[in-house]
Amino acid sequence: MTTKLFGTKVPRVEDQRFLRGQGRYVDDLLHDDPRLLHAAVLRSPHAHARIVDIDVADVLDVDGVLAVWTYDDLTGPMAEPLPLLIPHPALTHGRTQYALAKDEVNYVGEAIAFVVAVDRYVAEDAVARIRVDYEQLKPVVGIAAARAAQRTVHDDVPDNVGARLEQENGDARAAIAAAPHALVLDLDIERSACTPMEGRGTVARWDPDTSRLTVWSSTQTSTGVRGCVAAKLGLDLAKVDVITPDVGGGFGVKVVHPWPEELLVPLAAMTLGRPVKFTEDRREHFISSAHERAQQHHVEVGFDDEGRLLGLDVEFWHDHGAYTPYGLIVPIITSTQLLGPYKPQNYRVVFSSLYTNTVIVTPYRGAGRPQGCFVMERTMDAIAAYLGKDRTEVRSANFIQPDEFPYEHGLVFQDGRELTYDSGDYPASLAKLKELVGWDEFEDFRAEMAAQGRKVGIGLACYVEGTGVGPYEGAHVHIETSGKVKVATGLTTQGQGHQTAFAQIVADTLGVRFEDVEITTGDTRKMPYAVGTFASRAAVMSGSAIHLASLRAKEKALRIAAEALEASEDDLEIVDGVVSVKGTDAKIDLGTVAVLSNPLRYAFDEASKAATQFSVGDPGKPPVDEDDEPGLEGKDFYSPPRSTFASGMHAVIVETDPDTAEITILKYAVVHDCGHLINPMIVEGQIHGGVAQGVGGALYERMAYDESGQLLNASFMDFLMPYVTEVPTSIEIDHLETPSPLNPLGIKGAGEAGVIPSAAVFAAAIEDAEGFPITAMPISPSELYALRLEHADNSFAG
């Protein structure tokens, strides 16, 4: 047998290309095509206004401008609102925007007009010449204003509430009333955003000779974009190809589709008969792509002397921005994943999803979980503080135990299925984490630092993450006559290392060399049935599908090889692309098997002569059996009954400067359980990236809207994404592997995990250092300083 690649740290093969600047992103495509046109968008400068008039008369005078579109130029399905992608019965007042604003704008950045010109410079010059007469309306900015509902975002949503959803298991309020102890907490999380290195971008080319549209988009779902483009432009699906080239990060924002430009670019390409490109710039990304995170929570909790939860009642308000294209996914995830690894005896959760005159809110890595984790873990810490217990003891008292899986919470998850955890071992994770961070030795360290006049704190946070949601993914494995293996799966890749991880699976399952496997993702020409890359689902869904498709290809290879070698299939093995009869010299290359799999009339080279009609086959039978197909291929789909639940725990030791209130990370530890690891190096990379992004969300990043709805920090100068100098220089990682029983590889998703507990763990550590509650995140030194003054005043008054 060859060495098994599954589970080993195979270096990412894609990095050579990316690090040498050889990646091909949307903006790189067709760049030397002299016919290529460029688009720019006029965006609303107001958060809330009626459009009285749009005057584009001056635009077409600009030399180099080819066309301009406003809402009035759109017809048919293009003139209808954009799709509400994920409807839900509780979303009683769902609203989506138009590709170009009709009558009203509801956030700064909303698309109003679309200009196509010979280059982006000219297109922007032209945009500056469009005159719009606005009647300004008072905007609703922030959750407090949305709840107060003194003004509304949409006239026909009088209380700004798009949806209200309640779920309950048991009787939480009665349990709290009867509990020996009870606490009330009010908690806040602010807005942030994915901010991938590459913004959105779309290129489209209409081929009049074949009446075929090709769209390249920087998306997390090429099949989703394809469906929308075909429907909106009135094209048969078979006439539309959507291809996802290299994508410079997504983190959720690119799963939203269709963005207005994803429709307008193809429309312009068809109308003008020339290829058209739109490349979003950074300011546009801040003000017109999606944000996330902002929620306010009110928690009531009842517990016993051990800190065991008896009843948990959570009400929260979720800011979903101006429209609801992605339905209720984020608040549903918050409301269900808030529970983490714990089993409250009685749980009630109710949320209101609110309109505000700000950018839409859709999933951002973690997708509602960071907020839920923050709320649950703050509650655990509050209980521990109230009872004077170690924070790990209170958590231990509430863990679902390893023998309780599958564990049913009696709630409905984001995929419309029961919230049932498949597997996990939370006590083992906690034991590893305490060891890794030095939990039991921390008080000595605190004393040592205090002696030097330094202030330190430790915090921990636990999470469970539903990963690998359905409905399905598929894979097609094709062994060519060269012996090379071409694999297609439909979901997209935005930096995860799928070429490496998926090729590891194929190499192991099929018995071929890793280098001979080529993976294609996100190309609807190769795999038209697919969902997308989000919700930590690619490894689970496509990884499983690729495994299953590889098994099918292998089955066929063994059948044909057995005939050729006149041996039993049971005696064959495939190693490094060679099928051999175990223990003998008899063997045949997979490439030759591929030749034999395809009966030919015409030989196209030396090798293929072996498959021609006078060389092969039983003349008494059809060349291809009734239940067979030509070619050495395997195709299969994987569709799970429900999500797999990965889990993990983070701990951090921080130092808070007694003078400047600056917060420094001294140690960061992660215990992570995503079932079997395909490639530990890639999983650790995901954790590193997630932690870095989490540090940003906890200590640096926010969306600074002023009361008029202007985003004051719409650039990387003022939106403080951490530099490498702000993230921990090392992250201690330990893995636990509790396999999932739901898929053939026993794997769970890993993409989002690193970011989920950040707000919770930093709040805990800062609270531990400072000695007063931290109830709102993110936190800056300026805010920590203000809290110090407030609590100094309080203690003085007390």
């Binding site: 982006r120 410079y121 922007e124 530099y723 800056s780 203000a786």
Partner: protein, 288 residues
């Protein structure tokens, strides 16, 4: 994020550049471009012409002189921050230049951005304008009308506004040398490494033996121009004396209160460090 149309000129001589600038009211001078190019791209500035001075000869120097009134560091208009930062001679003659430059942005920006460009950009959150002001340096400017020297005290007119006339190009900055018995120190607090500081403080202290004879502090980001405060008479509470001259304001990164607090934290620290520096240099100068 593409600039509005502009004419572009890359003159080969200073005379040519000055003539072009004098002849075009809407022209802007391009050196390192680290502030100007983002402004152009965001269309916050739309000059009719860019006069790119990067091809001009003899402006890339970082030189030091050790004699008379002219003792100090001379930095040409095309000397990049990285070049100035790397100059051991400059750091020896005036240590504050290197102390402050190490806080200016990031290596990639310092490789392109010019120190003189930063001075005339006159950002009150930038390090070098405040340093020039604290050191009582100057900038030499040229125009078709001739040359003149603008003392730092007269260089900064307001937020992002220098006193250069439209037709003038800054050709050289002069940072006076650190006198024997004097010391300097610099510290700033920024949200991220290399960002504009929330508050930055530099100190320049002159001593005579153990006695501080003159103490001055420079502040950035707590007023709309770089501010220098003489605290010689307020050594018992220099921060209060400084705050009387400063105008910290709220922004999205920090409150005015927090900035004032940082002034109180940093002022005594930086003053003490500069005093120690002065004493250590006095010790070096007169070996016992």
């Amino acid at each position: 994020m593409k600039p509005a149309p502009f004419a572009y000129l890359r003159p080969a001589t200073l005379e040519e550049a000055l003539a072009a600038l004098a002849g075009e009211q809407g022209a802007k001078v391009l050196a390192g471009g680290q502030s100007l190019v983002p402004l152009l791209s965001m269309r916050l500035a739309a000059p009719s012409m860019l006069i790119d001075i990067n091809a001009l000869p003899d402006l890339g120097h970082v030189t030091t002189s050790h004699e008379g009134d002219a003792t100090g560091v001379r930095v040409g208009a095309l000397a990049r921050h990285a070049h100035v930062l790397a100059s051991d001679e400059a750091a020896e003659v005036q240590p504050l230049v290197r102390m402050a430059l190490s806080h200016v942005a990031h290596p990639t920006i310092r490789n392109r951005g010019t120190t003189v460009g930063s001075l005339v950009h006159a950002d009150a959150a930038a390090e070098m304008p405040m340093v020039l002001r604290l050191l009582e340096g100057s900038v030499d400017v040229a125009s078709v009308r001739g040359r003149r020297t603008i003392p730092a005290a007269e260089l900064f007119a307001g937020p992002l506004e220098s006193t250069l006339a439209h037709d003038e190009i800054a050709v050289e900055a002069f940072f006076p040398a650190l006198a024997p018995g004097a010391g300097v120190a610099f510290e700033e607090i920024a949200r991220r490494h290399g960002d504009y500081a929330l508050v930055g403080v530099a100190a320049h202290v002159e001593t005579d033996g153990d006695t501080v004879t003159r103490a001055r502090l420079g502040y950035l980001s707590v007023s709309d121009v770089p501010v220098v405060v003489d605290v010689t008479a307020a050594l018992d509470d220099p921060a209060s004396a400084a705050l009387a001259e400063l105008e910290p304001v709220d922004d999205i990164h920090a409150t005015a209160d927090y900035r004032a607090h940082l002034v109180r934290v940093l002022t005594p620290r930086v003053l003490a460090a500069a005093t120690d520096h002065a004493r250590s240099r006095a010790g070096e100068a007169i070996p016992s």
